[in-house]
């Protein structure tokens, strides 16, 4: 009779909430020692704040067309100069940041959700469901991503999708490309997790599948998911910028960092007015570096097997 008593005893001593919160706290403490990751994180927060709050304080936030102020180089009045319609480039840069960051976050969230659900299902049930899901993922891996994104962008143009909606479709497109990677990773984790003792216990207890999947398996892939999610935001921002640069993603007048660099496609703007396209390029570059540094720091803490 002594064995069951000890198990309940230890179970009570380490209640799940307490254990997980201390694990998280431990991870945060470890992460805060990584200077690169911390500076990355601070930069990301700074970028978000300045993009979402900054335009509120700008006198040019209404984007009024001002023919008298066309193509002015940076000055005290317009820190980053003005564009071909006399709009303030700095204000537009920040407004573009809102869109680019939102697209990055949203398409990440979407591909993570699809990828995780499909990955869990296919790793847990295996058999025919697994076959269907994983072969679809293989298929999407085989087809080159860029041409597919391009043709989907062209499809939107041919169907005359209103520019406001293109934004959402771009998010969807990016997640169609993004989910197979997530699904593969989650599935491979699942295959090993489902054989663990606690899952046998869950089976013996007669838990429902939904409970097993989402209350017992999902929390155990969560650390890994956070890492992939962080790193994939950077990728999504880059892909969006490529698409918009080629005029197939989000279209003006909605500004994004990618379609602002589009100014470089014009020879005169490219050679004589670098203030139009260099700032958005640097913004993408710095934001993505910050995200990658932070994501890598997270990986060291949450996924120690990968640590090198």
């Amino acid at each position: 009779m002594s064995i069951p008593t000890t198990t309940t005893h230890t179970a009570r001593a380490r209640s799940p909430v307490e254990a997980s919160s201390s694990l998280w706290r431990q991870s945060i403490r470890q992460l805060s020692k990584n200077k690169l990751a911390v500076s990355g994180f601070i930069f990301i927060i700074f970028m978000f704040l300045i993009c979402f709050i900054g335009p509120l304080f700008s006198p040019y936030a209404d984007n009024k067309i001002n023919p008298a102020m066309m193509h002015k180089p940076p000055s005290m009045k317009h820190w980053l100069g003005t564009d071909l319609l006399g709009r303030d480039v700095l204000t537009r840069l920040l407004q573009a940041g809102r869109i680019s960051l939102t697209v990055g976050l949203a398409s990440m969230a979407l591909s993570m959700t699809i990828g995780t659900i499909l990955g869990i299902i296919s790793g847990y049930y295996r058999g025919i469901v697994d076959q269907i899901i994983m072969r679809t993922a293989d298929l999407l891996f085989t087809i080159p991503g860029l041409p597919i994104l391009f043709i989907m962008g062209a499809l939107m143009s041919e169907w005359k999708v209103p520019t406001d909606y293109r934004l959402y479709l771009v998010m969807l497109m990016l997640s169609i490309i993004g989910w197979p990677g997530v699904a593969r990773l989650v599935r491979s984790q699942m295959l090993s997790l489902r054989e663990r003792e606690y899952m046998q216990a869950a089976v013996v207890l007669g838990l429902r599948d939904r409970r097993k999947l989402f209350h017992h398996l999902l929390p155990n892939v969560f650390p890994l998911l956070i890492v992939i999610a962080t790193l994939s935001i950077g990728g999504a921002i880059l892909s969006e910028s490529v698409l918009s640069f080629f005029g197939l993603g989000v279209m003006p007048p909605t500004p994004t960092w990618g379609n602002m660099i589009d100014a470089a496609n014009n020879v005169i703007d490219f050679e004589k007015r670098p203030w139009l396209w260099i700032p958005p390029g640097l913004a993408i570059f710095l934001t993505v570096i910050a995200i990658n540094l932070f994501g890598d720091g997270l990986r060291d803490v949450l996924d120690p097997k990968q640590k090198k």
């Binding site: 087809i143 860029l146 062209a154 499809l155 470089a264 396209w277 570059f285 570096i289």
Partner: protein, 317 residues
């Protein structure tokens, strides 16, 4: 081994069939083709052209025809350029290959050397600086860095040509021609190396870190070998082994060109051809290109698997 290969090949064909279906229907879903968009044609001529190229047939029949031709090695006929897609590929592919092969060589070279050195001096200042550099390289938007370098080196400093493969109007032959091409290659290759070297360096660094801890490295040092020969001959050989699987994955990059780089640097490669055809919606070429890359990817994966299995006898098929 034979049954494994047979199974793999069968699976490959299945995947390619699936891919071809997806590609074909995605492209033919897009309304407006080259005939539609051409303003100079009369309605009657348009109808004629559609009949000649089979565009008026039901979509399933068109797919089956297309697929059957690909099996025969015929990727279709470009409407915009009035030549067969395969011929066009042959004209452009070697330009892409030249760029890619040089860039790949330098990418691997730098990645191996830097990877070994950073692993040897783990946590040193050099290692930290390289790590930051790697993150920077992995975060650059390729089109932006291309534009930026053109602006600096071609427009402002006038040191290098802004794009193309040879100087416009140049009729140089022999040595002069090679020099001209090399001059034009410098920037695109630099950008491609920059983009690729980050993740590969990380890969070699972490492989090296594993190997350096092994007993045979200690033995080599105990024998009194020079550090250089311990690192580059004893350790590197084993650190390189897993990298052999990456060779196959380079295949689509070597022959498939790079859409963004070739477009930015106006390099007459297959990616540039794709972008040109994209603006006029020349679907046979676009579909052919996408399918071509898909085939390369599948073959590359197969090569990787085979190399992996043959290089490491512990892996059973």
């Amino acid at each position: 081994m034979r049954t494994y290969l047979l199974r793999r090949c069968l699976y490959m064909i299945m995947i390619l069939l699936g891919a071809s279906m997806l590609i074909f229907f995605l492209y033919s879903l897009t309304p407006g083709d080259y005939v539609d968009n051409n303003m100079n044609l009369s309605e009657q001529r348009k109808a004629e052209l559609r009949e000649i190229h089979g565009l008026d047939r039901p979509i399933i029949e068109r797919y089956i025809n297309w697929m059957a031709n690909i099996f025969k090695g015929d990727f279709g006929y470009s409407l915009a350029q009035q030549r067969s897609v395969i011929d066009l590929f042959q004209d452009y592919i070697w330009n892409s290959f030249l760029l890619a092969v040089v860039a790949t060589f330098f990418t691997w070279f730098f990645a191996v050397v830097i990877g070994v050195l950073t692993a040897y001096k783990q946590y040193s200042l050099f290692d930290t600086l390289v790590m930051i550099g790697i993150f920077a390289a992995m975060s650059i938007p390729s089109f932006f860095i291309g534009l930026f370098l053109i602006k600096v080196f071609a427009v402002d400093l006038k040191l290098l040509p802004p794009g193309g493969m040879i100087t416009t109007g140049s009729r140089a032959v022999g040595w002069e021609y090679i020099k001209d091409v090399l001059h034009h290659m410098l920037l695109p290759v630099a950008v491609m190396v920059m983009l690729g070297v980050g993740s590969l360096t990380r890969y070699f660094r972490s492989n090296m870190l594993d190997v350096i801890k092994q007993d045979y490295v200690r033995t080599a040092r105990a024998k009194g070998l020079k550090e250089r020969s311990v690192l580059f001959r004893h350790a590197l050989k084993n650190a390189m082994l897993p990298a052999i699987t990456l060779v196959g994955f380079e295949l689509p990059g070597l022959f498939g060109g790079s859409i963004i780089i070739e477009k930015i640097f106006n390099w007459p490669g297959i990616g540039q051809l794709y972008m040109q055809s994209f603006t006029v919606r020349d679907y046979p070429l676009l579909m052919g290109f996408t399918m071509f890359i898909a085939i390369l990817t599948v073959i590359g994966t197969l090569i990787s698997d085979i190399l992996y299995h043959t290089s490491d006898p512990r892996v059973r098929l």
